[in-house]
């Protein structure tokens, strides 16, 4: 009996441990953020996550919204945007989810965009697993990050490489006026990611760096036992 075809015991071991997600790690290119449409914490966190460690250079930024997301959450407002984005933003008001997917794909194919952010309400039929794989392939080919914010959506099948559930968290008291809302904080749950173990964090973005405080897991955490899968291209 030829045993050489079987995996040896040493190879079966855990090998390298899966790294925990932390800011500045340089995340996956294709991400999804699930959030409620009653707040805009999801979009703000998505912006913070995608801009984390990204060199904008002279490139523009594409922001695509479909009609329902536009109605529920409003339009981006230039004076309230993060400072580096104000003069770079190009906004697209797509009428339907199909148009939104077209715009996202054209956006990630363009070398002059630093990143693309999309806002989509609900679980439209147009965004099925095939459509999300198509997006992932285009993103991997061209290297432009995409963060898709899913408003009031169920966690459906998707090929996004990192998926978050985000809601606003109470802000710390600001320095001068204790009764005023402070700098924003978000409660982010990483529920699915390639190469990272799930976990929960409190994110905050002070305008320069994204910082994250890990919340203690309620259930016993077996995350360290998972083997590092590493990221691989979807195409290969």
């Amino acid at each position: 009996m030829d045993l050489s075809a079987f995996i040896k015991a040493g190879e079966l071991g855990l090998g390298q441990r899966a790294p925990r997600w932390r800011p500045g790690l340089g995340g996956a290119l294709h991400g999804e953020v699930f959030a409620s449409a009653r707040e805009t914490g999801g979009t703000a966190a998505a912006l913070a996550l995608v801009m984390d460690g990204l060199e904008l250079g002279r490139r523009s930024v594409l922001w695509v919204q479909d009609a329902a997301a536009l109605r529920l959450g409003g339009r981006p407002y230039r004076p309230g945007l993060p400072e580096p984005l104000r003069h770079r933003l190009i906004h697209i008001a797509a009428k339907s989810p199909q148009d939104l997917l077209f715009a996202l794909e054209e956006g990630v194919r363009c070398r002059d965009f630093a990143f693309v952010i999309g806002e989509l309400a609900g679980n439209p039929k147009a965004l099925d697993f095939t459509a999300s794989r198509r997006l992932t392939l285009a993103i991997e080919k061209h290297g432009v990050p995409l963060m898709l914010v899913r408003l009031d959506a169920a966690r459906d099948l998707s090929s996004a490489r990192i998926r978050w559930q985000v809601r606003s968290a109470p802000s710390p008291a600001p320095q001068w006026n204790a009764f005023a809302p402070g700098p924003p904080r978000w409660h982010a749950e990483l529920f699915r990611a390639r190469g990272h173990t799930p976990g929960e964090w409190i994110l905050r973005d002070d305008g320069h760096v994204l910082t994250a405080d890990r919340l203690a897991p309620l259930a016993p955490d077996h995350g360290d036992l998972a083997r590092a899968a590493g990221d691989r291209s979807l195409a290969s």
Binding site: E39, G73, P79, G80, A94, E106, C110, R111, S168, P181
Partner: protein, 505 residues
């Protein structure tokens, strides 16, 4: 030859509105600070008493049934430009004489038409066919021709021998002078051109020395009599870049059409490159065997001449083409172009082949989603939040604006229309405690405000209410931007209402 289109504005209006509309008294008006003013009136309007320069209210007093239409000076000028090119059928070059005249050089041309009189007849008939009232004159100098066209007999011809005698009887207004110069001359009792000859040149020069030399009667008189040259700026036609393909065999299938289109795009790119231009707009005309023409238009975000890009964008617009019995001629024209020099390619070949450039991407998005859907926010000088940003085309240059003062934080997103909310408060002008928005109750945990934003009194009515904005955070950490519209007892309506305007990060 000078051509005076005495009633250009009315003739154009009649052409657009149709003959039937001409039966009623109608005037063309411009909005001025003192109400609408009449620019031109048709025959029925003139008979009713309306005159150019009159206020519309005065004319309405004379004739209550007066119809009005807005006058269109830019359109008139554009029409005059195209007319100047058309008038080059009578001479090698022509010049504009705004607002309603043309000058055509007919030196040594008249024999082609059988003499100057027959040239004038030909021109008069041609203008009459186009429905334009024209007064024509031929004279040795442009100034003399202009004077005769405006003040002489119609279709006057002036030879070099009797020039001074015939011009002497024209009024001084024929010298193309400003109104205030004419007033001075009238006060001096000088009514005819001939009377100016009786005065010494030095005296005339001294009297009008404060004016620019072109506007003095002396210079104009010299130009009229040909003693001084008068340079004119000719109108030169610049043909649009145009390429076309005539096909031996009419095509009925899409693949062949795409191939011909790709060839046309390459031709157009070569044509544009030769002139160092890039196209901003393109028009593709498809001539069918039965004479039907369908036209597809394309607009680019930035000047381009990349054939693959052009062909790709047109391909998206050709889906609903009806080929009928076949298409036999394709013509690609660039009505709007911009200078586009040859550019240095990137040293790294990969950087160019990787992905699309920004302008290409914008073009593709605009063609599919429409022009309104692809825009960028720009700052606008206003302190009203929803007016402080405007939307413009993504690659249009941004206007310089004052930097934003970071006194107050603004929300990340603004609702298109502020949504009314029901608010529970301790005192009418105090902080809100609880509010209901989209069917859910939010407890206000923290609030900052009010930030009072007054209406723009120079733009709006005095009854518009001010807004007190609050930045609030509810018990779960969700942050909103809400405002109270008005104050209690401000005398501008009932109790103040509350609105949710923006969502903070």
């Amino acid at each position: 030859m000078a051509i005076w289109l005495a009633r250009l504005a009315i003739d154009r209006w009649r052409h657009n509105a149709g003959e039937g509309a001409d039966a009623e008294p109608t005037v063309l008006t411009t909005e001025t600070a003192h109400g609408p003013r009449i620019d031109a009136a048709n025959d029925a309007g003139l008979a009713a008493g309306a005159k150019a320069g009159m206020r519309l209210a005065d004319a309405r007093a004379l004739c209550p049934g007066l119809k009005t239409a807005p006058s269109d000076p830019e359109g008139d000028l554009a029409f005059l430009e195209s007319l100047a090119l058309w008038a080059q059928r009578w001479g090698p070059w022509s010049a504009l004489d705004p607002p309603d005249g043309l000058l055509v050089d007919v030196s040594a041309v008249a024999h082609l038409f059988g003499g100057e009189a027959r040239l004038l007849d030909d021109a008069g008939a041609a203008f009459a066919r186009r429905g334009l009232t024209a007064r024509l004159a031929i004279a040795p100098t442009a100034g003399a021709a202009w004077a005769l066209a405006h003040f002489g007999p119609n279709r006057a011809i002036l030879g070099p021998e009797d020039a001074a005698g015939r011009l002497a009887n024209l009024p001084v207004a024929a010298l193309r002078l400003d109104d205030d110069v004419l007033t001075v001359l009238r006060r001096l009792g000088l009514k005819r051109i001939g009377q100016l000859g009786g005065i010494g040149r030095d005296a005339l020069k001294r009297r009008f020395r404060s004016r620019s030399p072109e506007a003095t009667p002396l210079t104009r008189l010299d130009q009229l009599l040909g003693r001084k040259p008068e340079p004119l700026l000719p109108v030169v036609a610049v043909p649009d870049p145009l390429v076309q393909r005539r096909l031996m065999e009419p095509i009925r299938h899409r693949e062949l059409l795409d191939r011909v289109l790709a060839d046309l795009a390459v031709d157009m790119a070569r044509e544009l490159e030769g002139r160092a231009l890039g196209a901003r707009r393109l028009e593709l005309g498809l001539w069918r065997v039965d004479g039907e023409v369908s036209v597809r238009r394309l607009e680019f975000a930035a000047a381009t001449r990349d054939p693959a890009h052009i062909a790709r964008l047109f391909a998206g617009k050709l889906d609903n083409i009806d080929a009928g019995f076949g298409i036999e001629l394709l013509r690609l024209r660039a009505p709007s172009t911009e200078p586009l020099a040859l550019a240095q390619g990137d040293f790294e070949a990969g950087a160019e082949t990787q992905g699309t450039s920004l302008s290409e991407c914008i073009d593709r998005l605009t063609v599919r989603l429409g022009e309104k859907a692809v825009r960028r926010p720009v700052a606008y000088p206003s302190h009203i939040p929803e007016r402080a940003q405007r939307w413009q085309a993504p690659l249009a240059p941004e206007q310089a604006s004052q930097g934003e003062l970071a006194f107050h934080q603004r929300p990340l997103k603004l609702l298109d229309r502020a949504e009314p909310i029901a608010v529970l408060y301790a005192t009418p002008d105090g902080l809100p405690q609880r509010f209901r928005w989209r069917g859910q109750v939010h407890e206000v945990a923290r609030a900052e405000g009010p930030e009072r934003i007054a209406p723009e009194w120079w733009r709006e009515k005095s009854t518009v209410r001010l807004r007190d904005y609050y930045r609030i955070e509810d018990g779960e950490g969700r942050r909103y931007w809400i405002y109270r519209h008005g104050l209690a007892n401000d005398g501008r309506g009932g109790p103040p209402e509350w609105f949710l305007h923006g969502l903070c990060a």
